[in-house]
Symmetry: D2
Subunit: 202 residues, 4 copies
């Protein structure tokens, strides 16, 4: 594995635990900024309400953002909602009664923006997580939540010491799980009531 050199003298100082603390500190800062912003707080509750009100929920993201949203999609299914992951085998066409939850750090990934445009054109509700308030994706969305995390190609490390969109993608998971948690609490369902919906054939 020739790509990873260990010749740098500071190698010993970068323990995994230290990296974990760095990552946690960055997420703590993001959550603090989101929580302190009443506009964001209102938008997140709006996203939750629109997910609850949609006939079906579609989730979409490229790469790691898409994987984070798939984690959320699985939970929303456990809650009894009808949820589809864009790109999976039996995902149907989106229609006006549906909501599209989409995550893109830059808000400008070509395929993602095109899909959001299609969803918008058919009258579906577009709900966006992005770092870029003035992006094409944010412009299309009924509700956009702007995450104060580094965008994928912010290589200078000003906003995060992590590589590429790592912090944004972690935020997508935490926000997605917070959306689920709030919807679950609001539902009044017990954990035991959700459990039978877990896939039983794997």
């Amino acid at each position: 594995m020739p790509h990873i050199s260990t010749s740098r003298t500071d190698t010993a100082s970068t323990s995994v635990t230290a990296a974990l603390e760095t990552i946690l500190a960055e997420n703590t800062a993001v959550v603090a900024r989101l929580s302190a912003d009443t506009e964001v707080t209102a938008r997140l509750d709006d996203v939750a309400a629109r997910l609850r009100g949609a006939e079906r929920i579609f989730v979409l993201g490229a790469g790691r953002s898409g994987l984070a949203l798939r984690m959320t999609a699985m939970r929303l299914m456990h809650l009894g909602l009808t949820v589809h992951v864009v790109g999976e085998t039996t995902t149907p066409a989106i229609t006006a009664a549906d909501a599209l939850l989409v995550a893109s750090g830059s808000g400008s990934t070509a395929g993602i923006v095109r899909a959001a445009e299609t969803a918008h054109e058919v009258g579906a509700t577009v709900l966006a997580l992005t770092t870029a308030a003035s992006s094409a994706l944010a412009g299309l969305a009924q509700v956009s939540v702007i995450v104060p995390a580094a965008e994928k190609q912010d290589h200078d490390g000003a906003l995060s010491a992590q590589y590429s969109g790592g912090l944004f993608e972690q935020s997508v998971l935490l926000i997605g799980d917070a959306l689920f948690h709030a919807l679950w609490q609001a539902s009044g369902a017990t954990a035991a009531e959700l459990w039978p919906r877990h896939a039983n054939l794997e």
Copy 2:
């Protein structure tokens, strides 16, 4: 969507932002406990070293744990490592020179344990993330990292207010990204050097 009732009187008090703070606080507690434990600290560095030393890395997890590990797998590929996700189309057979990074909250999911047994039988290095120190998976692994998070069916909420294995699965992502971050720092590579490895055909 009949499954989610809004009739409970405390609905208004569960904002998404409050849920986000709950989730962050739980992750903060997990990271604090991991960091304070010198045994865990040593094991995490051992996992990083064995991932770096493996000819190929395989990642395996069911459901949301598997999705979290796939996020890590993508990053390890960006770092120049050869990484396969168990279950994807062109994933080959694991052999003695390879490492299997596996996550399972209970450490006893049948299909996961069976795969870990196979990996162990062929001589591959098994590296486990689990909440259960005395589980079959922990018993099989060369290195196991015990995450102080609720297991999937701890429905009483003693360890986490979140549903099922939510906290464990978030920990898998944060630990996976910390493993990447530590390996990246040790490599001495710049972000610009990793960037050309990102998939360019999507």
Copy 3:
């Protein structure tokens, strides 16, 4: 690429077109044997009727068999049926009103048999495609269709010149598409009526 030598003197004689004719001839033989067997004919119509009657359809197969069934799953969704692929993100738990369409050449792949047992235990209808009439899978199934094709480890080439379960997997696609075609014809729907159900966000 060291694994593929071109030193054999008969290399020139194996054109892709010749291989294509070999594959077609093998599939022609399989279809002829299936068509000539009135028991098989009745069973295939039974499978179609049970798919049409199920509340939801689940499809399951390992490796290439699973990919072939996913092709069929997509078509059944286009027809307006509710279809889930076992292992995809938002696939729910199977219940008594559902049908499981499962393909396994040997009928004895451990994970596949275990899933079929679970489906059977909850009261779902199990519909099997296999080469092995006396396999565990065929024993579990309400209806099993025995495909006269080589099983994966018939390495001697007696039933097929193709590698491993190639012929069986091709048969799974052709039979799956025939199940769709018959259901479509019976539905009276036009192609234009199916078209709007195709995924529109990719």
Copy 4:
């Protein structure tokens, strides 16, 4: 399941076996036309040679075409080739030494053409299966094989009684498996030599 009416009087005449014979007859006609065309025969052997010569093979297709190519990708991996499916988790960036095997009935699906353009721009070899000789995809490809099958929106049934691109997608599987079979025969490897490469962790 309200979408499928059984009220048409000709329902009884569409048995699954009859559908299977229709499908086989259509594939027989396609193979006959491919085999009779010496230009096609030469191109298919050229595709095989370029796959064998590539450093890594990438496969790409939307929907059912993509699933068919994934079946082929798995086999090419069994043969010892390095193969990646575009869109899977750890698929890296394509480079000049690689080949992209792409299937698209229309040859004009936006995302597919864009990916083929990128592959072409970085100097990779583009190998296309399509029904449309004058399509953007065929124009980009070093070698294109024109399959005489209906295109997805040929709803009038002139070329195939099957729905949408069904015949093309079946052809993609048969041609893909023929490419594998020819490469396997040319390699001189026995079935027993390929077997150990099958995934062992599922």
